[in-house]
Amino acid sequence: MSSVATPAPGPRRRRHRRTKLQRRQTRIGWVLLVPALAVVAFVAIYPLGKTVYESFTNQEFLAGLEPTKWVGLDNYRTLWHDPAFRHSVWVTVKFTLITVSFEFVLGLIIALVVNSHFRGRGLMRAVMLVPWAIPTVVAAKIWQWMLDDVFGVVNDLLMKLHIISHPHAWISDPATSLASVSAVDIWKTTPFVALLLLAGLQVIPRDLYEAADVDGASPLQQFWRITLPLLKPAILVTLIFRTLDALRVFDVFFVFFGNRADTQTMAIYAQGTIVQDGHVGYGAAISVAIFLIISLFVVIYVTFMRVTGDDE
């Protein structure tokens, strides 16, 4: 977006007439791209376009005999004043901020640990991925039982350790709901963050550290001056992945809270509106709004990445 203003009169004159070979290669390139583009159009552009179109209609499931009508911006006007949607955005953003920051810090620590040399490192790297390998719905169900106030093992442990005196309903009590659902997401997704960062760590050349050792830099200095700057691309990719994932969180909330009003994320609200209430048109408008909110985060990240990229 920032490149719109760059004046660039030069390049056009400098470009040579393309040779026959170049043109043929371009053509082959396009031919090879067509299948991929067709798939993208079919699985991404078509559904997106359809969703945008539906968001301007009053389409309903079970509308019976009523025909679907074009309603212009009505859905968006309602959405703008919809307190339930605003609340769901707030819940989702809070969840995203909490989980992404914890996952990043913990993931970085784990990545640094398993990147160092110690016995059983290979085993450790495999074991750490276990939470990530369990399907979210299954993991959420297990945690729901473990956090139960009557027969949950978490309360039992905390009481035996005398940390709490009475069992606590971690999921049901609104005061701890968001914390418990965030904890489960952090437990599950930190390994993924660690894995991405580990990949980033492994491409940092070892001789940089050797040189730093020779120059007498402390481990902490090495971390701040070598590791962190060189890890920046991996960090940004990780943060983008996690933020986008967290913003469209559905499954763990759905298992934990079902249709509870105060814990609806954007995706839960959209699903409820479309699937349960049958308001396809309004639900499409919510989906488009979610799409725009997520795009906003992408733009912020990409801009940030470009800015920092230019520095180097």
């Binding site: 499931f61 079970l62 719905v137 298992v255 479309i274 049958g278």
Partner: protein, 442 residues
């Protein structure tokens, strides 16, 4: 995006169903064999070899029963029936059918539908009157009327339901009570005393359990509380009535019990959690549907012979009531094997099967002669007139028609919010206005 969300929801609801399923334990009381199919040879000749899909029960031992009956039906008639349990929360199950019907899907042939759904689904269901009209005369006429939309019989009654109170006879005696509670205030008092005593040896013990999760079951529970306290039926005379002092009083009274005489987590309980708590011996009182009776009296129960049932308590001004529940079987208009599907419904809603269901699963028969049957009465004490004749209250489905699911969501989300700690007076006004807005959308 829509498709993706739908797919995730489906997987999540499937997993939720699996999660709620009870462990399958062979039971002695289930030794009664599934009844044979009358007229099987004639059916086999006409429709043998066809395949149908039945979206059936998932609560309690419902899936076990469905599978046993479907197996017997397949063996006798040659019609293959694959049984798919629906999501345990009935609003999720409604959503599943909405998706199938709106996509004109032929993947469902027979579906079990809640007593409040025939109005919404009528355009998508086969008129059963021509083929099953005669059998329909055996069933309670009130339910047949409920299932008849615009002169068409769109569903056949399968089993009935009403909310009842389960209580521990041994504990009542132990703590000096001669009779179960008449009012909610009595119940709370008794629950407190029993809980205080029992928790000394069993820290997991709770006085009272019910369905407090934000789902359809809470709408049923809350209707009983409010109606039994003289607070109306959520919608009365076509207008929302939930915002009244009597409703607020009883809802706040319930809120004050959460975490005191109920587990704090009761606000996430559905039927299965309620039944598990009571049948594990961890509760003095439970509100549930009659199906729990059979499981409680079964071999795996810890409270076998130690509990009984009665009508639900009532508020200061009001009388005991029970929310009308119950399930019907319907045939989808988009089914490719409608006739075979109708034969399956004929079998499943026959007197022999209803008797089998009442004896093995303690479900309420909708056929009067079965309900009067001596063996059935003996096994299902909630059928005795003192309990069965209590006024039945109906969820406001007829006012909302195809918007009922949304209306119920407004109700159960609001009540769940109250139970989770928000005073009724700051929730009820917005519930009332939301319901009124919805009533205007026709």
């Amino acid at each position: 995006m829509l498709g993706l969300i739908g797919a995730v929801a489906l997987i999540a609801s499937l997993a939720a169903t699996v999660g709620n399923a009870r462990p399958t334990v062979a039971k002695k009381s289930n030794a009664i064999a599934a009844p044979k199919v009358p007229n099987a040879a004639a059916i086999k000749k006409k429709y043998g070899g066809q395949k149908i899909t039945f979206v059936g029960d998932s609560v309690g031992d419902g899936n076990k029963r469905d599978t046993a009956l479907a197996k017997r039906f397949s063996r006798d008639t040659g019609i293959k029936v694959s049984v798919v349990p629906h999501p345990a929360a009935s609003d999720q199950s409604y959503a599943q059918l909405v998706r199938a019907f709106s996509q004109k899907s032929s993947s469902i042939d027979v579906a079990m539908i809640d007593v409040v759904w025939p109005g919404a689904f009528a355009p998508y269901l086969v008129n059963l009157k021509p083929k099953l009209g005669k059998q329909a005369k055996l069933h309670a006429q009130g339910i047949i009327q409920n299932d008849t939309i615009g002169g068409k019989l769109v569903a056949m009654p399968w089993f009935g339901d009403y909310g009842i109170l389960y209580y521990r006879t041994d504990l009542l005696k132990k703590y000096g009570y001669k009779a179960p509670p008449k009012t909610w205030a009595d119940l709370f008092k008794m629950a407190k005393k029993i809980q205080d005593g029992e928790q000394k040896t069993n820290p997991n013990f709770a006085g009272f359990v019910f369905q407090g999760n934000a789902y359809e079951g809470l709408t049923c529970n809350a209707l009983e509380w409010v109606a039994s306290a003289g607070g109306g039926h959520f919608v009365d005379g076509g207008k929302a009535s939930i915002n009244n002092a009597k409703a607020a009083t009883i809802l706040d009274a319930m809120r004050n019990q959460v975490g005191k005489t109920t587990p704090r987590g009761v606000t996430s309980y559905q039927e299965d959690q309620t039944e598990h708590a009571f049948d594990a011996g961890d509760a003095a009182f439970a509100r549930n549907w009659p199906y729990q009776y059979g499981i409680g009296a079964g071999a795996t129960s810890k409270v076998k012979g130690k509990f009984s049932v009665t009508t639900l308590p009532h508020g200061a001004s009001g009388g005991p009531v029970g929310t009308v529940g119950g399930w019907q079987l319907a045939v989808s208009k988009y089914s490719k094997h409608k006739d075979a599907a109708i034969e399956f419904v004929r079998y499943m809603t026959s007197p022999a099967v209803e008797k089998f269901d009442a004896l093995t699963n303690s479900n309420v028969p909708t056929i009067l002669s079965v309900a009067k049957d001596k063996a059935v009465r003996a096994k299902n004490p909630y059928l005795k007139p003192a309990i069965a004749s209590v006024p039945r209250v109906t969820r406001p489905a007829k006012f909302f028609k195809t918007h009922y699911n949304e209306a119920s969501k407004i109700i159960y989300q609001g009540v769940n919010q109250i139970l989770n700690g928000t005073p009724a007076k700051s929730v009820l006004p917005s519930m009332q206005s939301k319901l009124n807005t919805l009533l205007k959308q026709k």
